[in-house]
Every structure is written in structure tokens, then in C-alpha cells.
Amino acid sequence: MISIDAKKQIDVWIAKYPKDRQSSAVMQALKIVQAENENRLSADTIQAVADYLDMPGIAAQEVATFYENYNHKKVGKHVIRFCHNISCMLNGADDLIKHLENKLGVKTGKITADGLISVKKVECLGACVGAPMFQINDEYFENLTSDKIDQIVNNLK
């Protein structure tokens, strides 16, 4: 359920916390396991993380459902997380989200037919002076325009 490589990565996090506090690593452990399971978590993977960290399954489930970065349903290979909070909104995020939806042919929350991209509207990502902006995987893209969005999306493989 959890690969050896993932366990190694999780162990790096466990080492940061005091002895018997390995459950502090649960947030990263879930991210690591999510990354190697098509970018989503299932009840089984959550339980596997809980077992690895010796914590109750429900405690891991609480974390997995409280934080926004975990996916419980199928998502695209690339998830475009589009900020629609105030600074981005003032700078035209709503229109750009529509533009992106039109370009991809899917609404936010859905996945493109080829499974490559899904779009999610998210709250403030803390890059307000670069508004409007979105995040794809680990990367931020700021000062977006419709042309820039087209270019970024065209480069996604």
C-alpha cells in the first residue's frame, strides 16, 4: 500500500518530531502517499498511513478531510488551483476562470476528457500582489492574462 520509497520520504518527516510523536508527520505522509496513488486518497491508503504512523484510522481521516490539499475523488494529472479570493477577483479572476473553462471545455471541479487537467477554485493562496494567479501542482503562476493562461495550459502534458 505504501511503497518503500514513500516510506523513506515519510521517515524524513518523522525524524523531525520528538520520539513517539510520529503522528506529527501525518500531513506529509498523506501527501506523499497521495502523490503515488494518482493524486488521491482512499480509505485504504489513509488507513495504511495511520498504521504506518501508529495512530487511529479515524485520526488520519480527520486530517485527510480537514485540510484542503487532499483529494478524495479522481482529479486530473495536473490540478489547476485557481484563486478567486478578493485580490484576484478584483483583478478579473472570475472572467479568467470562465476563459479557462471554455478553453478546456470543462467546468471547475471537473476533469478534461483526456484526464490531463482538472480545475478547482480555491481560496487565497497568498500571492495577492501577483493577482490574478493560480497554482499547478507545486508551482505558482502569477499576473495571469488570457493569453498567458493559454500558453501555460498548452504546455501541460
Partner: protein, 422 residues
């Protein structure tokens, strides 16, 4: 401008240890390692500097550090709050990206002063670029022998780790942040006990904002009085302001406290396309909105903003021009708090959704005549009735938007459309 956290901003590889040390970085820390500085002296300097918590609450940093039971037995912790997420705020991201060593040195100094040998920097989960930057800096600092056990045979110990968030605004609340480091949901703890007594893993803990920690080395190397003199009465030093919205050149500016809003607006290039200023949120989405007229009269310091009815908060200045529909903005903010409520306290769990739904129905053209009264009533019942400040943060904008822009809401309810949009 840009004298403390941003002082190396324009330099090549401003984030590297080399650049940092070339401009005097780690000199305070090295003095400590040599035994040339005492905790008492450092606290005195911080008190003299007038540095107040840059995360939003504005609590005097020197005083906060003095609350830690530094002589008590057992582990103690320092924690840096880099869970930046209040709409309009994006300064800590730049500190982490461009001056990570100042945060490290600030935390190490804090660890020494408060006798805490371990620190955690809690970086929000989306900040991957800042996270890698900070991790690289940590590696450099360890390799340079600036961190670890018995550093340079000084008998000083300080280990520093990053903890990455996973997407929850509430973790910016300090006790929710501690819960999160413990691998739990980010639900704020009720106080007392305060973290200085029962904090991370049940041990005494002090939590400061990224900018606060990053300001400490420069303050100590140039003296508390030097810093205090930059600012004004009751607001020592300079501060980062994130100016976003309808301005020509949105950016972060590190300017002396007490700078006039007018000047700050000018630094950001003024209003975009020559539009007219309509409203300003001066300190991040939870601080009360101000009308253009009032905003133009204020100075950017704790008292200056409080005097005109708002708060400095995290220094997140959101500029809105005449085209802005205040009903839509408030609805968006209400959605944010509704989305980010942790759900533990009844008034916030149920009330933020209620506020949002009433605003949503107004936007949808289904507003009811007494909806304004309802909004005011609901926000009043949330205000002050929750464990943490998120309830207040959700309530305050409602009150201030309705106070300053009530006719727009009345118009929307009556006509089912925005007063400012075609």
C-alpha cells in the same frame, strides 16, 4: 524603504548564505555563540525597538519572549508562523523566498533567549517554492555549523525544522497551528492555558510571525532604539505592506511605520487606469473596510489606522476602485470564512454559512427587505462568541461593509442587481 527584511532584495542571489553574511547576517547569532549576549539584554533591546507581532495581532515581541518560563525544566519550543493565508497578505512568502536566513537567525536567537532548543517553521502547504528555498537555507546554515547541537562548542543547541501545512487558513491561528504540527486537525485550543505554558507537545512554546522573526537580527545588530526611531510612537520600525487590488504596480513595500497611505499608494504606482479610489481594506480581509476619503487621511501604523476605525493587521492593503461592487466583495469574503471555519464552535460553524447564504441570495437577486438587519444580527452573535478570532474575522467585514456602503446593499436587495455594474 526596504531596510530590514528586504534589505538584500535587489542583490544577486539575495537568499544565499553568502549574501546574507556579507551584509552582516548571523553576526548577532555568532555573538551569542561566543557568549557575548545575554537573553535579558536581547529582551531589553526588543522592548526598546517597539517591535510588535507582524502576524496581525500586534503584541509586543519583547514582552512575549519574556513570558516564557525559560528557567523551567524540560523541552521548550519556538515556532514560526509562516501559514500566510489572510486574503490580501503575501509578505511572508517573499521573506521566505528572498531572505530565509533572517528567519533562521531570528528563530535561533528566539530559541536562545527562551531556552528552547528546537524550533519549527510552519509553512503553508501551497508555498512549495518558499519551502524549498527555506530548506536550502537550513541546509546551508547546518553546513556552516550555525545550527545543531553544541554549536561551535558554545553549549548552545538549536535544531530547526520545517513543518508543511496542507491547506487550512485556520492554522494561522497559533494554537490551531500547534495542533497541526502535532498531526491533528487545525482546531484552535481554548485558552488558558496559553502556549507559553502549555504549547507544542504540551511544552512551553512561543509562536511568532515570519516577519517578526526576520526583523530580530537587524534590530539587534543596529540597536532597538535605531529601529524604534524609524517608526512612530507605539509603532516601532518599518513594516512590510502588501498592496494589491486596483493599483498600477501591486507589490510588497517595506516602509517606516507612520508612512501616509497616500505615499504608499503612490509607491504602488497609484490607481490603475486613472480610476478613482473607492475603498481600502488596510490590514487584510478581516479588518474593517474604509472609504476612500477616510483612507486618504490615515497613516500606516497601529494607532493611525485604529484612529480611523480599522486595524493594521498584517499590513495587507487591498485597494478598490469605483467599479467595485461592494456586495460582491463582501460575498466573496463571507464565502472565504464559511469555507475556512474549522467547525468546532457553534456560532462560527453555523453562522458563517448563514452570513454567506444571505449574501448569496442577495447576489442572486433574491434578497429580502430585512436581510441587512439579519446580517447585522448574525454577525453580532458570532462576534466575541468563539474560541478563536476567526469568528470575529468573519463578522467584522460584514459590519464595516454595511456601515460604509449600506446603500449599495439596499439597492441590490431592491433591484436584484448591482448599483455599480451594468
Amino acid at each position: 524603504m526596504n531596510e530590514v527584511c528586504f534589505k538584500n532584495l535587489t542583490k544577486d542571489q539575495c537568499y544565499s548564505l553568502k549574501t546574507y553574511e556579507a551584509s552582516g547576517g548571523y553576526s548577532v547569532w555568532r555573538k551569542i555563540l561566543k557568549g557575548d549576549l545575554t537573553p535579558e539584554h536581547i529582551i531589553d533591546e526588543l522592548k526598546a525597538s517597539g517591535l510588535r507581532g507582524r502576524g496581525g495581532a500586534g503584541f509586543p515581541t519583547g514582552l512575549k519572549w519574556s513570558f516564557m518560563p525559560r528557567h523551567s525544566d524540560g523541552q521548550k519550543y519556538v515556532v514560526c508562523n509562516s501559514d500566510e493565508g489572510e486574503p490580501g497578505t503575501c509578505k511572508d512568502r517573499d521573506i521566505l523566498r528572498f531572505n530565509p536566513h533572517a528567519v533562521i537567525e531570528g528563530m535561533a536567537i528566539g530559541g536562545f533567549v527562551m531556552n528552547a532548543s528546537v524550533g519549527y517553521n510552519y509553512i503553508r502547504g501551497e508555498f512549495m517554492e518558499p519551502f524549498y528555498r527555506f530548506e536550502d537555507a537550513l541546509k546551508e546554515a547546518y553546513e556552516a555549523g550555525l545550527l545543531g547541537q553544541n554549536i561551535n562548542n558554545s553549549s548552545v543547541n538549536f535544531d530547526l525544522h520545517t513543518h508543511l501545512g496542507a491547506g487550512a487558513y485556520i492554522c494561522g491561528e497559533e494554537t490551531a497551528l500547534l495542533e497541526s504540527i502535532e498531526g491533528k486537525k487545525g482546531q484552535p485550543r481554548f485558552k488558558p492555558p496559553f502556549p507559553a505554558n502549555v504549547g507544542l507537545f504540551g511544552k512551553p512554546t512561543t509562536i511568532n510571525n515570519t516577519e517578526s522573526f526576520a526583523s530580530v537580527p537587524e534590530i539587534l545588530s543596529r540597536g532597538g532604539q535605531w529601529f524604534a526611531d524609524i517608526g512612530v510612537e507605539n509603532s516601532g520600525g518599518c513594516k512590510l505592506f502588501s498592496v494589491s487590488g486596483h493599483v498600477k504596480s501591486p507589490a510588497n513595500f517595506e516602509v517606516p511605520m507612520g508612512t501616509s497611505f497616500k505615499d504608499l499608494l503612490k509607491m504602488a504606482g497609484g490607481m490603475r487606469d486613472g480610476a478613482k479610489l473607492k475603498a481600502v481594506i488596510p490590514g487584510g480581509s478581516s479588518t474593517p473596510v474604509l472609504t476612500a476619503e477616510v483612507a486618504m487621511s490615515m497613516t500606516m501604523d497601529y494607532d493611525g489606522i485604529e484612529k480611523v476605525g480599522s486595524m493594521l493587521g498584517a499590513g495587507s492593503v487591498i485597494i478598490m476602485d469605483e467599479s467595485t461592487c461592494m456586495v460582491e466583495v463582501l460575498t466573496r469574503l463571507a464565502h472565504f470564512y464559511y469555507d475556512e471555519s474549522c467547525g468546532q464552535c457553534t456560532p462560527c460553524r453555523e453562522g458563517t454559512g448563514w452570513l454567506y447564504r444571505v449574501l448569496e441570495r442577495i447576489i442572486d437577486g433574491n434578497g429580502k427587505q430585512d436581510d441587512i438587519g439579519l446580517l447585522l444580527g448574525v454577525q453580532d452573535k458570532i462576534m466575541g462568541n468563539t474560541i478563536c478570532a476567526l469568528g470575529d474575522a468573519a463578522a467584522m467585514p460584514v459590519k464595516s461593509f454595511l456601515r460604509n456602503f449600506r446603500p449599495e446593499f439596499e439597492y441590490y436587495i431592491k433591484h436584484g442587481k448591482s448599483m455599480v455594474k451594468e
